[in-house]
């Protein structure tokens, strides 16, 4: 693996994270972060969809007419999402029920389209596949971090298992109900960005 490929793989995880730096794909990400399990399944689905659709579009890149490329890309992405959705419905029905429409919304997740437009249309299939996978992973990382905090503070559980021991509740501790409500996802994401930009000063906006 040469340095270039390593850069493709590692950059989207932290330095060029699709959510906190490029501001792509926030749409469907926040509603699924109440529970870690849902967030993890969503993250895996997005990794698969971004990787495979970047790969396929990159294979087709020399034959797609420029005028109608958006529709072609959407059809490719929609096909991948249908595959993921059908697999989830078959093997993890309860998770697929809790994620409801958000699996379908991966189609319009800006990360997928963004990476296709910015990378896959101008690069060979294998680097495009890696770029898609890495961006999906960067997205998944943020999702899992936010879901971890929300589930821990909101319900006192991790993956549905009780981690805050009973004696703390007996001493008067109460779960923070605010964490389960949708707006807290946004505020937490704001805090994640705050932390990241305090570490990486070059990302700060003027």
């Amino acid at each position: 693996m040469d340095a270039n490929m390593k850069e493709t793989l590692l950059k989207p995880i932290f330095k060029g994270n699709p959510i906190t730096v490029l501001v792509l794909g926030i749409c469907s990400s926040l509603a699924v972060t109440v529970q870690l399990q849902g967030a993890l399944v969503m993250a895996l689905s997005v990794i698969i969809v971004t990787g495979l659709s970047s790969f396929v579009v990159s294979l087709l890149r020399n034959t797609i007419p420029n005028r109608i490329r958006i529709i072609v890309q959407l059809v490719v992405v929609a096909m991948m999402v249908i595959l993921v959705d059908q697999v989830l419905k078959a093997f993890a029905y309860s998770v697929s029920k809790t994620l409801s429409v958000y699996i379908g919304l991966i189609i319009t997740n800006c990360i997928v389209m963004g990476r296709i437009e910015a990378f896959a249309l101008g690069n060979k299939p294998i680097p495009s596949l890696l770029d898609g996978l890495a961006n999906g992973a960067g997205y998944g990382l943020i999702l899992v971090v936010v879901a971890f905090v929300r589930e821990l503070l909101g319900s006192g559980t991790i993956f549905g298992l009780q981690v805050i021991p009973q004696f703390i509740y007996d001493a008067g501790y109460v779960n923070n109900g605010l964490m389960i409500l949708p707006p807290m996802a946004l505020i937490l994401l704001g805090c994640v960005i705050w932390i990241q930009r305090s570490i990486q000063k070059d990302l700060q906006e003027k």
């Binding site: 469907s28 379908g104 707006p183 505020i187 704001g190």
Partner: protein, 204 residues
Amino acid sequence: MEYLSLFVKSIFVDNMIFAYFLGMCSYLAVSKNVKTANGLGVAVIFVLLVTLPINYLLNKYLLQPGALAWLGDKYASLDLSFLSYIVFIAVIAAIVQVVEMVVEKFAPALYSSLGIFLPLIAVNCAILGGSLFMQERAFANVGESAVYALGSGIGWYLAIVALAAIREKTAYSNVPAPLKGLGITFITVGLMGIAFMTFMGIKL
């Protein structure tokens, strides 16, 4: 009366942005000033209002289990609902393209103000989300789906114009450097979401 309650509910209680986070990408990217936010908001209302009834009819007569019964008994047992994503997104992308051409031909003034936003809208989650929610909630007729489209479009419009107005003001305030720009915007949207939650108790 049912229409009115659905309308109010889809604007305030089930607000696309604050309750479901739909259309966040363009919401954050295009809310730097009120004028462009206004343009995008109007375009979203318009596209939602056109695509949702069409998708409703497609869902009713093509996609949902047993929908093909009008073709004859042989087709009554077919279930094409797994195709719905691809059909909905194709309809949306096609309609956006058609709307763009029509607006360009017949209303050049509107086109020059909306022009850049129209192609963006094809990948706005609020549009596809509207169609998917419409499918999930099984509305009774086309009228209801149109009212739902109008309501959620207006809700989205209100949210983006409000955020743009706030961001125009916060541009002058003294925000900690790492929070500037994106960070403070997220927190603002979160606080607006908490404010919108006060509508949750409304029963109509």
